[in-house]
Symmetry: C2
């Protein structure tokens, strides 16, 4: 009876009803789909079955069914004639605290049809999770945050659809990956217990919800899958990253790090997964330094220093006059300063080497990276000793977390075959620089695999297979969460990691003070 096969769209031919075979329209369709899909559970929503009699008669009992599989239960989310060339699209959403990115895919072949992003409208209520959770506790706050993100997403979907020549009605499946607090706010669920000991989310596995129930304006029958979380500090965005990296299919142990204010780390392979999260400090994202800012035009993202002349060689985004420095630029800078011996192994400025670049402002040592006459701001762009100290604490925290989690499973960092760096920011880090300052372990460069936006990547990957739910739930259930105890052992490791690259130089054989090659 079958004509074409696609994981999300099935074409079936129904036997026409007769006096001898007077099975109802819906039950007739369900019965054929049960055979076709080899399942005993097929569901059709009330609102869809209202349309069914006319559709199947109009197309003479040859129908295309758009499907969704919720574990063992199949849902029919759309019905059309066999010749109707209606598009069948899926929407993947990375629900970031700062930025939301969406991608539309063709469900029939997994092709990307379009991508866009927008600043999370909840930013107006607070820059970070903590501020938003507090805002959610004010009167009407939760509803406002929920509306802000839902409306923002609806608008973005509409715009992106228009640019892809689609209609939001063409979207039948939505996958959403975000951290635990963001997904709670997206569902309109109060996140207040997430930030209070013992840090309990309302739900770990939101699973599948009707788009209409969430207020998402796509096809009326569309379903939304929300990635599960492991707890308050290990959210669906990271599960999406693990799924995207294909961790759960690796035979050799690998590590995945999502670098940001929090460092979220997973170690494991197809058989086991262990995860932890810890504060690495905002310095890594360039958040704390005076000249630090998010990547954007005119922002310094690459720095090299001539080992002889100590001249800076800066690269800015889009080649514009420099106005600040982003996270990957700061890591580059610290590595270059260290390799050119302008800072010592404690990260302190070496006056002799810094020479005229060094300046005292309010009694504090500052290194001028871009003099006022070359900067876009008309002021010196500088980095202070305090900024450097903060960066070193952050990189030390990061390395300590990596060391602690691998040690906890009786491994060494050098025993890892792949090192996935997740997050948009992670993609811009030069692993050579990160190794030079001892933030990341000294693995062969080929081991480092930037994932880009792995949260979006995982959400989009899910749309290429109807069986993704089981796969993702399986990943989530296999994760052992390691609570990081800041005990004496941790502090000892942290102290050793506060040097450049480390007190134990044998851990970083490749780091030689010869300067990094110019870009």
């Amino acid at each position: 009876m079958k004509i074409a096969k696609s994981p999300w769209v099935r074409t079936v031919i129904l036997a026409k009803p007769t006096l001898q075979d007077n099975t109802a329209d819906t039950d007739r369709l369900i019965s054929v789909l049960k055979t076709e899909l080899q399942t005993d559970a097929v569901h059709v929503d009330l609102n869809l079955l209202k349309e069914l009699p006319e559709v199947i008669r109009k197309c003479d009992y040859k129908v295309r069914c758009i499907l969704f599989k919720d574990r063992h239960r199949w849902l029919v989310t759309g019905i059309a004639g066999i010749d109707d060339s209606l598009p069948v699209a899926g929407l993947a959403v990375d629900l970031g605290t700062t930025r939301v990115v969406l991608r539309i895919l063709d469900l029939s072949d997994g092709r990307t049809l379009g991508e866009s992003g927008f600043d999370n409208p909840q930013l107006a209520a607070g820059p970070d999770i903590l501020a938003r959770i507090h805002f959610a506790e004010t009167s009407g706050g939760l509803e406002r945050l929920n509306k802000a993100i839902v409306n923002g997403l609806n608008q973005a979907v509409q715009d992106l659809c228009r640019s892809c020549r689609l209609d939001p009605q063409d979207i039948y499946t939505v996958t959403v990956a975000g951290n635990t607090a963001m997904t709670h706010l997206f569902m309109g669920v109060n996140p207040r217990w997430i930030i209070r000991e013992p840090y309990i989310p309302v739900i770990n596995k939101p699973g599948v919800i009707k788009a209409a129930e969430l207020g998402i304006q796509v096809n009326a029958h569309a379903r939304v899958f929300i990635f599960p979380n492991v707890g308050s500090y290990f959210g669906g965005d990271l599960i999406a990253g693990i799924f995207f990296a294909g961790f759960h299919k690796l035979s050799e142990p690998a590590i995945l790090v999502d670098v940001g204010t929090n460092a979220e780390v997973v170690v494991g392979n197809e058989n086991w997964l262990i995860a932890c999260a810890g504060a690495a400090g905002p310095a890594l994202e360039g958040g704390m330094t005076a000249m630090g800012m998010l990547a954007g035009p005119g922002v310094v993202d690459r720095i090299a220093i001539d080992p002889v002349t100590h001249e800076f060689d800066l690269h800015t985004i889009e080649g514009q006059a420099p106005k600040g420095i982003c996270g990957s630029g700061i890591i580059d800078l610290a590595a270059a300063l260290f390799l050119s011996e302008m800072i010592d192994i404690r990260g302190k400025f070496v006056s002799a080497a810094c020479g005229g670049h060094l300046k005292r402002i309010n009694g504090l040592a500052h290194l001028v990276i871009v003099p006022a006459d070359q900067s876009a701001t008309g002021s010196d762009l500088t980095i202070s000793q305090v900024d450097l100290d903060s960066l070193i604490r952050s990189k030390a925290a990061m390395y300590t977390i990596l060391e602690t989690i691998t040690t906890s499973v009786g491994m060494e960092l050098r025993g890892l075959s792949s090192f996935f760096v997740g997050g948009t920011f992670g993609s811009f880090i030069d692993p050579r620089a990160a190794i030079a300052i001892g933030m990341l372990p000294d693995l062969p460069l080929a081991c480092y695999k930037p994932l880009g936006n792995s949260s979006l990547g995982g959400a989009a990957l899910a749309l290429t297979s109807v069986d993704f739910l089981e796969e993702i739930d399986d990943i989530r259930d296999r994760i052992t969460y390691l609570e990081l105890n800041v005990n004496q052992e941790f502090m000892n490791r942290f102290s050793a990691a506060k040097f450049l690259p480390h007190t134990d130089a044998s851990l970083f054989p490749s780091v030689k003070k010869v300067g990094l090659k110019h870009f």
Copy 2:
């Protein structure tokens, strides 16, 4: 962990969350329920999980869960503290074409809390199914019929709740039994193909739908189960009747007849069920005679005739002056006329025996049952020869249908151990009278079991067990529908049954012309 057990309400104690056990609130509850219910599928609606964190903390992790079982999947429809004495009620609805009857039960013990009824507001659009289906095809017609029944039910629920000191919010489960067209209109699903060859409903097994989706104003998380149908002419009201009669548990074959304009008949036992439906004619319900009317105060429902004096002994509902006659009264009347030899075996008036009671109106013979000076209307209440002929055709059709279905399974009517008479009207029929005119077979009176409103009975019975869905689906799936072919054999049987009680008097040994005992 378990404290109390009820099929619909379970009390569970959750382990309090700790830093070591930071499972989310919902997942914690689901996990305990999975163990408690020995299932792998427990679902909590989005809107309910929004309330969950505060509820479980307020009641210190001891919670009462109100549950619904949708086949293998359990749904949580309510959560409350262990000490909250909130009532947990269920609503059973008999969705009649003419009248809708509802009953509220306490789900914890199955006790009836209240019952009420109202005329189906769709009557304004048409008296019968056919008229309503045509109305549904007019512009906006379907929506109007749907709104009429939904609003009518909501109002009735509100009123009944008030009289039981309940709130509609206390209703967590609803069961609805009605014929195929009525359930379609209730769901807002277009019934147009039900009346067009080959008579196809939109859906046979509507299953479980959220009350909110149907517009039914009870608890926001409540589920509605709609009884399945076998086809256009064998609806959920009859499946409810079979369920109520306990047919599917009988070791000996039995028969169930729903007497009305249509005669719906089921024969079977725990192993097999065969069903058919056929037009018996409105005469049985008193609909066609000049003095016929629905049961109500002043309506004659019992008649006896003194075999010697031929005096009528009438019983009216509530003892008021007679104004008409209802279906059971007509059957009584025909039986009494026959047994007192005032009509012959063809149902024709015997002038000699009728004497002064007989009157000619417009050239047609009428028998005066109540003279004008004793009637509530001030006119004679009469029955004409045409009325009698019509009644005899109807009773013959009924008997022929009964004979045909039993013969089709190689049985004789006298081989049946139980004869269930369903429907409110069926309850009022005196089986002795029905046997006397040969409408029902001559079985021992103890075999006759009036079921009353078996549709409502089945809907209410469903609320006494969480496993009812499987049981009812199982009944539905086991029914073989027998298409009644009006062939020569059927016509031969019909001709024989058009005599009183039958051409073959040996089939009715108990019928002796001595008159029925006075009531």
